[in-house]
């Protein structure tokens, strides 16, 4: 059996022997392999498939492709795989497919929302801008936010978002090619063949499951003697024979970006009843092509007349596709209407399979063409000079009203014709979307009444119907020529041109048609321009009446062209109507910008594989595994995972951090500092370069010594800091903050390349080359001394802020004597491959010395006890060195450095700037909140300006109290004074103290 009562006995590209079961709104139905959901529904006589957005009007299938405005469904699949808003015309049927209609309640046939249609006089375009502001006796905005907006929201929207997470995978690929062909209809295939035969690497993409475009629904004629319908298969077979050709069916070229980059979305598994769960559902291609051939065809326009939206009313071209490609008839008694020759071919084909053709209506008064002659010969009832003025029918069209346009612009009633389907064609609009996205300039072809590609902005050619070619022969010719042009543009020879001989086609002499949009008399029913958004001709007129002139305004005011089809079928009709209403030309009204994507693209496809741990690369140090083994807790710092603290049995974070801090101060601790940014700065001008970048003086720094460097931006604010060691006359080891590693290198390169190209300096990021093991505490030297070979680690030979090269645990190392804790400290830099083994050797000795490993939290507490700043915590982009008490670091005799000029601006030399101070609370255990504000009074009035804020706050177990650092206006002059930190439950009183809480003289450092 050939699933469906409206299936023809033979013909089409479906497999009648392979029946597929599916359900629509719970109703079991059958289709054939090769069907789309739309063709299968039509084969079962189902035209009603959805409800419109605003008025909930019953709607049927209008098109056979991706431009479909009405037939939106939800395809239900298990476990988070349900997808809303799919076009039934693009959903490939599979066995067991479950689809449901949308935007209706309780059911598709009985939808209460249809009340909106009755009240539609109240809902013209933009009605919501004019009301819902009251009622006056309620507070402003109350009724809007509590009543009206929620109601509007509930009514709006189409399908529902899935309720569980999408388990599917999405893939991503980059590709290069010589020629990208978008669209595999006759023009695209001819272009691809010509380019491939010239030797080009070609990618051909087409949004449909089967390539061939309009060839697949051709019913007559032949090319070079081969029946037209078979030509696609032949061309594809030939293309497949070229090793350098890639064919991508089910792939939409959705975006055309700068430098000939195209975005392609490939649908891989949605048509599969049981897809491989490991395989991707869709794939994003980012293709860089040397030349692009746009062969995306043309889109048919509906006719605009009263009640032109009833189920059963569809585009004539779509009906032809359903008939010739899917073996489906649209009904039993058809009226075919339009304004160009294409309608006759449709009428002939339908009559050929036994559909009763009730009438062929041509709006033109005196059309002359071979197609019409053929229809006359076949005895079809043709009426010229006739247009449609309305339709009747409840859930399906049952009758149409026709009229005759008179010379004075009025329309004379010409009776009615009963029918169960109306096939209309208002002409074809070239798909210039991609051309326009490429930023090419469109030109208006006044004769054809359409926009066509004008001046190109990138290396591309439009071929076939989208370039304005009409008739199969011309389309193929332009495709073949485009393919040759493309190959030539890529440097290939012209080669021999193929000859194409097209015969037996009912050529349309006028295929674009003029836009049919009679002005409707007052009081007549709605004539839809944008079906999905329910925009009527009257809405467009209202917008014009209200002073909207630009099409961009009219689009936004009426929402025409803003539905999920983005106006593919409606934009030209809207433009024509508006220009008619305003008495201007179409180009005067303008064209809205075509934006990507051509058709909607799944978020998941765009996100690709960047999910879970692949969302952003996780960076781990060479010592990370050791820390994991010890049960460390980790924190995210930029892309790094850093050991935060090392809890021991039953310890919480607080206890662990307290123990780690005490251990470092009393004995020794070991800390993984590998994430610090490191840049090797080398060259004869290295010292000069650093001197210009950093505030400090580096030329005077002796090899073997280190200096604490501060980096400013041009505005004079601190943006990074770190220890910089001079290893040799022409070589520095620069460290940066963990977060600043990349940006500091970028900034250095920027200056080097653009400001000081004369300096001989080379920069290399070595962040990932060195593992850094910090050993800090009074016993630090005892711990490392036995491991060091080839250097004296004594205080004389290796004083604070110095560096030497040595072997540590047998590994060549750069050994720094530095401290970020205020204790005697070393930082051992070893090649990252040896990081773990050296760490283990050091950690074992630390353990033996009564020490422990400590994490970033303890590091923070220890440095805060010393008043050492952390960039990004004590600084926020508004802080200069002087504010931090670091004015001493600035090389006073230096000619210049980044930010220097800014430091003398009036605001920078004010004495009441916010300055870094310490704060102590009365109660020793009261911990201030990070970011809490500091005021002079305990109960500040609303709007009181803060004196500053708490930048860091910790409990110091070593000091036995909580401590805080803060930036306070004129803070250094407020030592010993009492200030307040207002909190929701009352202010906390604080005393301003020095930011150095521990070992203020720095004696421990210099041991």
């Amino acid at each position: 059996m050939s699933a469906g009562a409206f299936r023809t006995a033979t013909g089409g590209r479906i497999d009648r022997t392979h029946t597929l079961r599916f359900t629509f709104d719970g109703r079991p139905l059958q289709g054939c392999a090769g069907d789309t959901l739309a063709s299968a529904l039509l084969a079962n006589g189902r035209h009603l498939v959805g409800r419109s957005f605003k008025y909930h009007r019953p709607r049927g299938i209008v098109t056979s492709g991706s431009e479909e405005p009405n037939a939106l469904v939800t395809v239900v699949r298990d476990g988070g795989r349900t997808t809303p808003n799919l076009r039934a015309t693009q959903v490939e049927l599979y066995d067991g497919l479950t689809a449901i209609s949308q935007n209706r309640w309780p059911s598709l046939t009985r939808d209460l929302g249809a009340i909106n249609d009755k009240l539609s006089l109240m809902f013209p375009a933009g009605f919501y801008y004019k009301t819902f502001m009251g009622p006056r006796f309620l507070p402003e905005n109350w009724a809007w936010t509590k009543v009206f907006e929620p109601a509007i929201r509930r009514a709006a929207g189409l399908g529902r978002a899935p309720t569980s997470a999408d388990p599917d995978r999405y893939a991503s690929r980059y590709a290069h090619c010589d020629v990208l062909v978008a669209g595999a209809g006759p023009a695209g295939l001819a272009a691809a063949l010509a380019a491939a035969e010239a030797g080009a690497r070609v990618i051909v993409a087409d949004e449909q499951s089967e390539m061939g475009g309009s060839l697949l629904s051709a019913s007559r004629g032949a090319i070079n003697g081969v029946p037209t319908a078979q030509c696609a298969a032949d061309a594809l077979a030939q293309l497949a024979g070229h090793a350098r050709v890639r064919l991508l069916p089910r792939t939409t070229v959705f975006g055309y970006f700068a430098q000939n980059m195209a975005g392609l979305a490939e649908r891989i598994s949605d048509h599969d009843p049981s897809p491989d769960p490991e395989g991707p559902r869709e794939r994003l291609w980012q293709v860089r092509a040397r030349h692009v051939v746009i062969a995306t065809g043309a889109i048919e326009r509906p006719l605009v007349f009263s009640n032109n939206d009833r189920p059963g009313i569809m585009l004539a071209g779509a009906a032809l596709t359903y008939l010739n490609r899917y073996g489906v008839t649209p009904g039993q008694r058809a009226v075919i209407a339009g304004s160009h020759d294409g309608i006759y071919a449709a009428a002939l084909d339908l009559a050929g399979v036994g559909v009763e053709v009730a009438a062929v209506l041509d709006t033109r008064a005196d059309p002359q063409s071979a197609a019409m002659a053929a229809a006359l010969d076949a005895g079809l009832p043709i009426r010229t000079g006739t247009c449609i003025v309305g339709s009747r029918g409840h859930l399906r069209v049952s009758e149409i009203m026709i009229g005759a346009p008179m010379a004075d612009g009025s329309i004379r009633d010409a009776g009615r014709i009963p029918c169960d389907c109306l096939l209309m064609s208002g002409g074809w609009t070239p798909s210039v979307h991609l051309f326009s996205q490429s930023r090419g300039k469109l030109r208006f072809d006044a004769a054809a009444g359409v926009f066509l590609p004008g001046v190109s902005a990138q290396s591309e050619t439009s071929a076939g119907a989208c370039g304005g070619a009409s008739g199969l022969a011309a389309v193929i010719e332009s495709g073949a020529a485009a393919g040759r042009t493309a190959a030539q543009a890529c440097g290939f020879g012209l080669g021999r041109a193929r000859a194409y001989r097209v015969e037996g086609i009912l050529e349309a002499t006028e295929a674009t048609g003029h836009v049919n949009a009679p002005r409707l008399p007052q009081g007549m029913a709605k004539a839809f321009v944008d079906f999905q958004n329910d925009v009527t001709s009257r809405d467009l007129e209202l917008a014009a009446r209200e002073g909207f002139r630009s099409i961009e305004h009219i689009k936004r005011y009426t929402t025409t062209g803003m539905a999920t089809d983005q106006g593919k079928t409606s934009n030209m009709n809207a433009l024509a109507l508006v220009s008619g209403t305003l008495n201007t030309t179409v180009p005067d009204v303008g064209l809205t910008t075509f934006r990507q994507p051509y058709t909607p693209v799944t978020f998941g496809t765009l996100a690709g594989m960047a999910r879970g741990d692949l969302f952003d690369p996780i960076r781990r140090t060479s010592i990370d595994g050791w820390a994991q083994g010890k049960g460390a807790a980790f924190e995210d710092v930029g892309t790094w995972k850093r050991a935060w603290y090392f809890p021991r049995a039953k310890e919480d974070m607080h206890a662990a951090v307290a123990r780690e801090c005490r251990t470092v101060r009393a004995a020794v601790g070991v800390f993984d500092a590998s994430t610090l940014g490191k840049i090797e700065v080398v060259g004869p001008d290295a010292a000069e370069f650093l001197e210009r970048m950093y505030v400090n003086a580096f030329k005077a720094l002796k090899p073997g010594r280190c200096r604490y460097g501060i980096l400013l931006n041009e505005a004079g604010f601190v943006i990074d800091d770190g220890v910089i060691a001079r290893l040799a006359q022409d070589r520095f080891h620069v460290t940066t903050t963990t977060g600043g590693a990349a940006s500091v290198l970028n900034m250095m390169e920027d200056y080097l390349q653009t400001e000081w190209p004369d300096l001989q300096v080379w920069l290399t990021s070595t962040t990932e080359q060195w593992a850094v093991i910090a050993v800090q505490g009074p016993r630090a030297r005892d711990v490392i001394a036995p491991l060091v070979d080839g250097a004296d680690v004594g205080g004389e030979a290796l004083p604070h802020m110095s560096v030497c090269e040595a072997k540590v645990a047998g590994v060549p190392a750069r050994l720094f004597r530095v401290s970020f804790t205020g204790e005697l400290g070393f930082e051992i830099n070893v090649p990252v491959g040896a990081g773990r083994s050296v760490w283990e050797a050091v950690a074992a000795r630390v353990e033996d010395a009564g020490g422990c490993a400590y994490g970033t939290e303890a590091m923070h507490v220890l440095r805060a006890e010393k008043g050492y700043i952390i960039v990004g915590q004590e600084t926020d982009g508004t802080v200069i060195p002087e504010d931090l008490g670091l004015g001493w670091a600035i090389g006073k005799s230096k000619a210049d450095f980044v930010g220097r000029r800014s430091l003398v601006r009036p605001d920078m030399i004010r004495t009441d700037r916010k300055q870094l101070v310490g704060l102590l609370t009365r109660g020793r255990d009261v911990l201030l909140d990070d970011g809490a504000q500091v005021t002079s009074v305990a109960a500040p009035a609303k709007g009181t300006a803060a004196l500053g804020h708490v930048t860091s706050s910790y409990h110091s177990s070593v000091l036995g109290k909580s401590i805080a650092l803060a930036l306070v206006r004129g803070g250094r002059g407020l030592m010993g004074q009492r200030l307040h930190v207002p909190m929701p439950k009352g202010a906390v009183e604080v005393e301003v103290v020095s930011p150095v809480f521990y070992d203020p003289k720095g004696e421990k450092l210099n041991g």
């Binding site: 809303p84 808003n85 006089l121 013209p124 919501y128 801008y129 004019k130 009301t131 905005n141 809007w144 907006e149 509007i152 929201r153 929207g157 399908g159 529902r160 978002a161 899935p162 975006g255 970006f257 700068a258 975005g263 994003l284 009081g523 209202l542 009446r545 209200e546 002073g547 002139r549 630009s550 305004h553 936004r556 999920t564 983005q566 934006r595 990507q596 978020f603 765009l606 996100a607 960047a610 999910r611 879970g612 969302f615 924190e635 995210d636 710092v637 505005a715 604010f717 926020d876 982009g877 508004t878 800014s902 605001d907 920078m908 909140d929 990070d930 970011g931 504000q933 005021t935 804020h949």
Partner: protein, 416 residues
């Protein structure tokens, strides 16, 4: 005709034939008291308040394209006032208060919808920064509260707060009075309001030169529709401000970048509030129509091209799909870009300039929609009086000379 439910019904019964034009399309006069360049929300609001509050009605707003077609009509409409610095708090809160009564003020429903703006924290640093905002805002009397991950989820059910996320949600700062509004309605409402007070809004009129007298003071502008005289000219041209100010030989501390946004196909309500994540670059809300409205971070390169790179789109959707895994199958329906005017401290410039009679209001960058009413209000006062309104004063062009910057970005890397 007043916009009201009653008039809608009346007009409904007569086929909506009598609604007047929302604004006239006048020919430019040869001279005005004030010329405002740029009919974005800020320019139109400026004209409206000049007429409404200062009685200066002989005003033209010149627009090179169609009114509201710049960033005003392209933005993701996030409105909030929980900024860090007192100067910012003052202007954004001033604007927020105007938003609360704007629909009635303009007799145009701008659909201000205080659905709550929640900013997510993904690391310890974020938490510290947002808590600092909460404390600062409390002092200023601006609502902003800290939510735990669970509270954030309760407020926004589709949010993923799994600890397994690459950058898990550690909490969020919520301003309940924050929300969104309908961008077109804001431009149109101000345009209609200004027009009704006598302001000429002249579209398709590009300013190509700024005329100055022998003393250097402004005396008018050259346009594609002829010379128009005015002793006071206010430039409110967002991304193109540098180009305009160069016509008066002023170099602006502004860089222009493309900023992209996109919407999904409409779906039934799923997202009750606005969610922002500055650290992974995702800004999302759901429009009344049902579309998910998603904003990106700025493109990396300066440009005047209103289309950005695909990699910015993908980067944004990576973040959205991680935070809202149930949205992964939804689809991007339309993507676009605007040109944002970014200052070194990410705060706007409002005020006088070294050229007498020339005023400027720009630098709103990625986040100026929310300021539209407040910005227009204080800029109108500044133009009318010839000296900065107190709220505008800290945002002077001068500050780049004095160094008294108002840096919101460095403190929080906040975009919108």
């Amino acid at each position: 005709m007043q916009y009201s439910f009653l008039n809608l019904v009346r007009q409904g019964l007569s086929g909506h034939q009598d609604w007047p034009a929302q604004w006239r399309s006048p020919e430019p006069k040869t001279a005005y008291d004030v010329v405002v360049v740029g009919a974005g929300g800020h320019g139109l609001a400026t004209a409206y308040y000049l007429a409404k509050e200062h009685g200066i009605t002989n005003v033209a707003v010149l627009e090179k394209g169609w009114l509201g077609g710049g960033n005003t009509g392209r933005n993701t409409t996030i409105i909030r006032s929980n900024y860090l610095w007192e100067e910012s708090e003052a202007i954004y809160e001033h604007a927020l208060r105007l938003w609360e009564t704007l629909s009635r003020e303009l007799n145009y429903n701008v659909m201000y919808s205080p659905r709550g703006v929640m900013m997510l924290a993904h690391n310890v640093h974020d938490v510290q920064v947002f808590k600092r905002h909460v404390h600062a805002n409390r002092l200023a009397g601006i609502d902003n509260e800290w939510l735990s991950p669970e509270e954030a989820k309760a407020f926004c059910p589709p949010l993923n707060i799994s600890r397994q996320l690459r950058y898990p949600v550690l909490g969020g700062a919520l301003q309940r009075r924050g929300g969104v509004a309908r961008h077109d309605a804001v431009a149109w409402g101000y345009a209609r309001g200004a027009d009704r007070l006598g302001v000429d809004i002249i579209q398709n009129c590009e300013v190509t030169g700024i005329r100055r007298d022998i003393n250097g003071a402004v005396e008018g502008v050259e346009t594609t529709r002829g010379t128009i005289k005015a002793k006071k000219v206010g430039v409110v041209a967002a991304g193109h401000t540098s180009v305009l100010m160069a016509m008066a030989s002023l170099r602006m501390p502004i860089e222009s970048f493309p900023l992209q946004a996109l919407v999904s196909e409409p779906i039934k309500p799923v997202l009750p509030c606005v969610v922002m994540s500055n650290s992974i670059h995702a800004y999302i809300s759901q429009s009344d129509k049902g579309e998910l409205v998603i904003g990106a971070g700025t493109d990396v390169y300066t440009s005047y091209s209103q289309t950005g790179g695909l990699h910015i789109t993908t980067h944004t959707l990576e973040a959205i799909a991680e935070l809202f895994p149930t949205f992964r199958r939804l689809r991007m329906m339309r993507n676009w870009g605007g040109i944002v005017d970014v200052t070194p401290d990410r705060s706007p410039i409002i005020g006088t300039t070294p050229v007498p009679g020339l005023f400027v209001n720009c630098g709103w960058g990625t986040g100026g929609f929310k300021a539209t009413p407040g910005s227009g209000h204080v800029f109108a006062a500044t133009i009318a009086r010839g000296e900065p309104h107190p709220i505008a004063a800290p945002f002077s062009l001068e500050r780049f000379v004095t160094g008294r910057l108002i840096d919101e970005a460095a403190a929080a890397a906040v975009a919108h």
